[in-house]
């Protein structure tokens, strides 16, 4: 047999006019690289790319604002940012308490990252899609998911994932960075559907940014100009690994040019800065200019999850340093300094959110466990024969 005869793909053997006439290629829009005409002509050293990465901060840690940068928000809007954060924290604290009492499964606390998630949440439209990782409770409850469902989820009940119709949020994705690709694809889908406002938000952490999927998602989104905001919460730790061991880069934001998209870093403990940065980023994406990379520099105030013990690898002084930069205290100081907030308001708010949280806990704890047959009932649209058999076993054991 002649070697290699079989090893050409069948170009020569398929039917029809295979060699595309130049005209056809041209008609389709020449695929010629835009670099094709760039070398061998210029000399000697040319700068082919320049990039600068900015960080925005508006409130300093004492709550003093840079007036020039202050976003145009009404007093109510300013206060609502604060209220959202308090609600998130109360929700989170309750979960930690439940976990200590054995009434909750593994819980990943959002404490310290409330400004990131509140600053984003108020910029979201109902039709926007979230592609959350496992630490997005804050923005999720703000986007319309009942607290009880997120509690149920982490208590170990898949039914928590059956989010209300019309609340655009994907299920929690635990394999880090993987959901960024869903956000890229969803953002492309929204573009193909001709959406003019809706966008997809892909969430990831600093650790997740080392995964191949982070790269593939940003690159894919960039190529297809998908309607996607890549929202990175850099809380400086991936379980026990600090950011400087995660990458030799000084920031995640400086990766935006690698994908031909704009990006910036924002003080993630400064809710006004996050608000302003997110608005800018979302305007860019909504306008159809393609994706945006926003890095929120924040800090994980709790253990990685309730299964973790951060004192094994993290210095107390570091935690203390960040306590002084707590996003909620900072915003309260700002509001108080403007007479937009006082203890009375604070008390009322606390009572309100506590009541809500308690009611939600009651509700989710009242839920009896799902039938064991649920294990096999959602695998396919129709159950194949083997799942029928396995379902029968589960049903038998249940009796």
């Amino acid at each position: 047999m002649r070697v290699g005869r079989l090893c050409r793909y069948p170009v020569k053997r398929a039917r029809g006019n295979l060699v595309q006439p130049e005209a056809v290629i041209k008609a389709r829009g020449s695929p010629k690289s835009d670099l094709a005409f760039e070398t061998g002509d210029k000399m000697p050293v040319t700068i082919i790319h320049e990039a600068r990465t900015e960080r925005l901060e508006i409130l300093d840690r004492s709550g003093k604002a840079d007036e020039a940068l202050l976003p145009k928000l009404s007093s109510e809007e300013m206060a609502s940012l604060y209220k959202l954060m308090v609600r998130m924290r109360r929700f989170d604290e309750k979960a930690l308490a439940l976990q200590r009492q054995g009434r909750m499964g593994t819980w990943g606390s959002v404490r310290g990252q409330e400004a990131c998630q509140a600053g984003l949440a108020v910029n979201l439209l109902k039709e926007d899609w979230l592609a959350p990782s496992f630490r997005e409770h804050g923005v999720m409850i703000s986007h319309g998911i009942p607290m009880r469902q997120i509690y149920a989820l982490w208590r170990g009940d898949e039914r928590g994932h059956l989010f209300p119709e019309g609340v655009n949020c994907l299920p929690v994705s635990i394999p880090v960075a993987s959901q960024l690709l869903h956000a890229a694809g969803l953002g492309l889908g929204l573009k193909l559907r001709g959406e003019k406002s809706a966008v997809a938000i892909g969430f990831a952490g600093d650790g997740a940014s080392s995964e191949g999927d982070f790269h593939e998602a940003l690159n894919f989104g960039g190529v297809f100009k998908s309607r996607t905001l890549f929202f990175i919460q850099n809380n400086q730790w991936a379980i026990s690994v600090p950011f400087h061991k995660q990458t030799a880069a000084r920031s995640i934001a400086q990766r935006a040019p690698a994908y031909g998209m704009p990006g910036m870093q924002v003080d993630g403990n400064d809710v006004l800065a996050v608000y302003a940065a997110t608005k800018k980023a979302l305007d860019h994406v909504r306008a159809g200019n393609g994706p945006y990379l926003l890095e929120c520099l924040t800090y994980r105030m709790e253990n990685h999850t309730t299964a973790d013990d951060a004192s094994r690898y993290r210095l107390a002084e570091e935690l203390a340093y960040w306590k002084e930069r707590d996003p909620i205290d900072r915003m309260r100081a700002f509001l108080v300094s403007r007479k937009l907030w006082d203890d009375k308001k604070g008390q009322a708010l606390l009572e309100e959110v506590s009541a809500e949280v308690e009611a939600e806990v009651k509700a989710f704890e009242a839920e009896p466990a799902a039938p064991a047959t649920d294990i096999v009932d959602f695998m396919y649209k129709e159950r194949p024969w083997f799942l029928e058999e396995q379902r029968a076993l589960l049903a038998r054991e249940a009796r």
């Binding site: 070697v3 290699g4 005869r5 079989l6 090893c7 793909y9 069948p10 170009v11 053997r13 398929a14 039917r15 029809g16 006019n17 295979l18 595309q20 056809v24 290629i25 389709r28 829009g29 695929p31 592609a131 898949e158 039914r159 994932h161 059956l162 989010f163 994907l170 299920p171 994705s173 394999p175 993987s178 960024l180 690709l181 869903h182 956000a183 890229a184 694809g185 969803l186 953002g187 492309l188 889908g189 929204l190 193909l192 559907r193 997809a200 191949g212 999927d213 593939e216 998602a217 690159n219 894919f220 190529v223 297809f224 959602f378 695998m379 396919y380 649209k381 194949p384 024969w385 083997f386």
Partner: protein, 336 residues
């Protein structure tokens, strides 16, 4: 307009398996605007095997997308597109290059319906040429169907004829769950067959009796069906009547047909290219002995690829299960 790939014929045409898949894709894209095709080189080039040929011209770059060279992105983005209401058909250029996409397939595509308690089913198809026989470089001859069969939430389909290829790709596209659609590249153009231009489907989950017989059942799929049929001819001359079962769907398997043939003949030989260890043949043998042991006249025999890396071209012919090995296995069942 007529381009190489796409049929405009009104009446039955003789097509290769590659063309049949192409026609199925074109028909479904025509019928359902939510169907997208995406992958490496699927557009301008029409796919390295020309299976997507002509689709770009006919349906445009918004529905036929040349993606960056990133398999995880192809499948992961398809998950997002499916949630956005599309029915993406992804092409992975070769089965040997699907590994970077396994995280998206195993951790997400296979689990999304279940994870969301039915809220987000993922109607998506992952096409990939598989198997040996074309003398290519390394990684271009893999058969990894067992990986997908072992992963709950996926369906796995492998056609062996042009007619089935068209009917099955249409079923796969219309299926509301993720379907791994593996195409036996070795027979992409090995033969032509009359294929109806009509809109028809071949149901997923049903095997096909490629040829019936009473003494022994040879169960195969994809390119191995031909080895089975060749063996059957030789056996006929030896007055051994062999039934050939073309599995067509690897998961969910057609247990009725498998057991019927096993009980009818009492002797079974399973043939596949993939390695033996924990392969699809093991599952079939396990099921048969579990459910039809008393009708067995001999142990179920497996004719598989070696538990070794698929060799470079100069040794390729020694790797692939061939008629002779099937005959040897059949003889074992007869001599038992």
């Amino acid at each position: 307009m007529a381009t190489a790939g796409i049929s405009t014929a009104e009446k039955t045409e003789k097509l290769t398996l590659a063309q049949a898949v192409n026609h199925g894709l074109a028909q479904e894209m025509e019928r359902d605007p939510s169907v997208l095709v995406m992958g490496e080189d699927v557009g301008m080039d029409g796919g390295v095997f020309r299976v997507t040929e002509g689709l770009l011209d006919k349906f445009g770059p918004d529905r036929v997308m040349d993606t960056p060279l990133a398999e995880s992105a192809i499948v992961g983005a398809a998950v997002g597109l499916a949630i956005a209401g599309f029915r993406p058909v992804c092409e992975i250029q070769f089965t040997g290059f699907v590994y970077p996409a396994l995280n998206q397939l195993f951790a997400h595509a296979a689990r999304y319906r279940n994870r969301s308690r039915g809220r987000y089913p993922l109607p998506m198809v992952i096409r990939m040429p598989y198997g040996g026989g074309i003398h290519p470089p390394e990684h271009h001859s893999e058969s990894y169907e067992a990986l997908f069969a072992h992963t709950p939430g996926l369906k796995v389909v492998i056609p062996s004829t042009p007619g089935d290829a068209k009917g099955l790709i249409v079923s796969a596209i219309r299926d509301d769950d993720p379907v791994i659609f593996m195409e036996p590249k070795r027979i992409y153009r090995a033969f032509r067959e009359e294929v109806s231009p009509e809109d028809y489907t071949v149901p997923i989950g049903q095997a096909r009796i490629a040829a019936d017989g009473k003494d022994v059942a040879i169960i195969a799929y994809g390119a191995m069906v031909r080895a089975a049929l060749e063996a059957r001819e030789t056996l006929a001359r030896r007055n051994v009547s062999a039934e050939v079962v073309d599995l067509r769907t690897i998961n969910p398997m057609d247990i009725e047909t498998i057991l019927r043939s096993a009980e009818k003949t009492g002797r079974v030989v399973v043939v596949h290219e993939a390695p033996r260890n924990a392969g699809v043949g093991a599952e079939i043998a396990a099921l048969i002995q579990e459910r039809a042991m008393l009708s067995l006249l001999a142990p179920v025999q497996r004719v598989c690829g070696f538990d070794a890396v698929f060799p470079f071209p100069r040794l390729e012919e020694h790797y692939l299960p061939a008629k002779e090995r099937v005959l040897e296995a059949v003889q074992k069942t007869l001599d038992f």
